[in-house]
């Protein structure tokens, strides 16, 4: 095998080792590489920031634990921004892991101690609703009937002060969805955004971004926070460095590695082809 062919056929075990070093190295020894705030993260930040006090925001967990490495940092940062303002926050989950992830958010942020947010008055967690898109449609028509008891205290939804004026989709001002797939944005758009003219912003994993693009340009999704890099930018905007900023060095290094490997493979391919041609 010639040197050029070897460049095209590096043993994958070496590739995996390089990935491992590129990801783990910066996580263990942060490099402090610069992060520039982009348009997506600033639009997302500004959209929440510009909501008037007293707005009713529904946060929905449309992801499971497997997506936590990428989405959990932005979820924590979003709750920080939501609880820092005078919003009424209703938490639901279309994915079954959602309520458990919310427990971890609460453990980190401690809404009562750090934000003086009283459960049942300023915010509430209604838990998981099954049925995917049909569940969303049912929730839009009748929140109290679809999720009859809350997740944390197991009491009737209608018994909480916050829920006295929140009964249908028309009582919600903004949906914030963090998601990885189905059910997710298209289902919310069909069942909530279009029929009830509800505003919606989304945080999603990097590979899902191309799918969300048409909804963003059509105005059905008002802002998009795509992946870990945007989460890090969002943390910068909030002036609250968190898990995303500490992980973004790994993103930079792994992306450089991918580009380097692609270039090496193509140099080998071109040279080998040139040699065969001559």
């Amino acid at each position: 095998m010639s040197a050029f062919e070897k460049l095209q056929n590096i043993d994958l075990r070496w590739v995996y080792l390089l990935v491992w070093i590129a990801v783990l190295g910066p996580l263990m020894w942060p490099l402090g590489l610069p992060v520039t705030v982009g348009r997506d993260s600033s639009t997302y930040y500004n959209y929440i920031n510009d909501m008037p006090d007293g707005s009713v925001v529904m946060f929905t967990f449309d992801y499971g634990v497997s997506a936590m490495p990428e989405l959990f940092p932005m979820t924590v940062a979003t709750f920080h921004q939501l609880w820092s303002r005078d919003f009424k926050v209703v938490v639901v989950a279309s994915w079954v892991d959602g309520p458990r992830i919310m427990n971890m958010v609460m453990e980190q942020l401690k809404p009562e101690q750090n934000y003086q947010k009283v459960y049942g008055k300023d915010w509430i967690e209604l838990g998981y609703f099954p049925g995917s898109e049909v569940g969303m449609a049912a929730l839009a028509k009748d929140i109290h009937g679809t999720l009859a008891v809350d997740y944390i205290q197991n009491k009737p939804t209608s018994s909480f002060p916050i829920m006295q004026n929140i009964k249908t989709a028309q009582d919600i001002d903004l949906i914030v969805a963090h998601e990885t797939g189905t059910p997710g944005l298209p289902e919310w758009v069909r069942q909530w955004v279009t029929p009830y003219d509800i505003k919606m912003i989304v945080g999603c994993i990097g590979v899902q971004v191309p799918e969300v693009a048409p909804y963003l340009q059509a105005g059905q999704c008002k802002a998009l926070l795509p992946g870990l890099t945007a989460s890090a930018e969002y943390e910068l905007l909030l002036r609250r460095p968190g898990i995303a900023l500490s992980g973004v060095d790994a993103v930079s290094m792994s992306h450089i590695l991918v580009i380097a490997l692609v270039v090496i493979g193509n140099v080998g391919f071109m040279m080998a082809r040139g040699k065969r041609g001559s």
Binding site: Y16, V35, H255, F269
Partner: protein, 218 residues
């Protein structure tokens, strides 16, 4: 009577009624129709909840058979069944017995076993994406070169260090995202929507039977 109920027309009829009850309220504001449509949606939520239970039972039946017949990989089936019971028992909705999602052992399993395992499975993608990019991204033709070049530009746009070193990566990446990607994804979404409409019409007419008995008549 049993023979009549077994006829293929029965589930097709139920499907047609359920589908129409969800479609018609979009076009006609008839209160009784809206009420029945709402009722059906609630039934659907109940069905979905029970389907989870049925799923667990089916999983146990399949893996029990694997163990009984000692099929290939049967020891893994023991782990599956053991894991089901390990998570299911402390998570049973019996709060008066200390069980349920607030049970300490269930919480421990979720936080320190299930969550790290799920995250690990997702993180493994990094290795596969890198090796796939290295092996598949070859400029074998002009078209392949264009895909490769656009891919590299997007990777660079998403790496903070790259955009810091050369800021034009941002507008270039944004253009690829906003124009070619947008056009392609719109075509995909609209195409899929037409496909879904065609499938719905075929289902309503009883021509689409793939969801019934694997499409067989009996």
């Amino acid at each position: 009577m049993a023979e009549i109920l077994r006829r293929i027309e029965v589930p097709i009829g139920i499907t047609i009624i359920c589908t129409l009850l969800q479609i018609l309220p979009y076009y006609f504001n008839i209160p009784p129709l809206l009420a029945v449509s709402d009722l059906f949606r609630r039934w659907m939520l109940l069905v979905a909840r029970w389907a989870t239970f049925v799923g667990a039972v089916t999983l146990m039946i399949v893996h029990s058979k694997n163990i009984q017949q000692q099929k290939k990989g049967w020891p893994l089936s023991i782990i599956v069944i053991g894991s089901i019971f390990l998570l299911m028992l402390p998570g049973l909705p019996l709060p008066e017995m200390g069980l349920g999602t607030k049970n300490a052992f269930f919480d421990y399993l979720f936080t320190y076993v299930y969550s790290p395992l799920g995250s690990t499975m997702y993180s493994i993608i990094a290795f596969f994406i890198t090796s796939a990019a290295y092996r598949a991204f070859r400029a074998r033709s002009v078209e392949a070169f264009l895909v490769l070049f656009a891919g590299i530009l997007m990777i660079a746009k998403n790496a903070p260090i790259m955009t810091f070193l050369w800021p034009p990566f941002v507008p270039i990446g944004n253009w690829i995202y906003d124009v070619p990607n947008m056009a392609t994804m719109r075509a995909v979404i609209i195409g899929a929507a037409f496909g879904a409409i065609a499938l719905a019409v075929r289902t309503l007419m009883g021509s689409e039977r793939g969801y019934l008995r694997g499409g067989r008549e009996e």
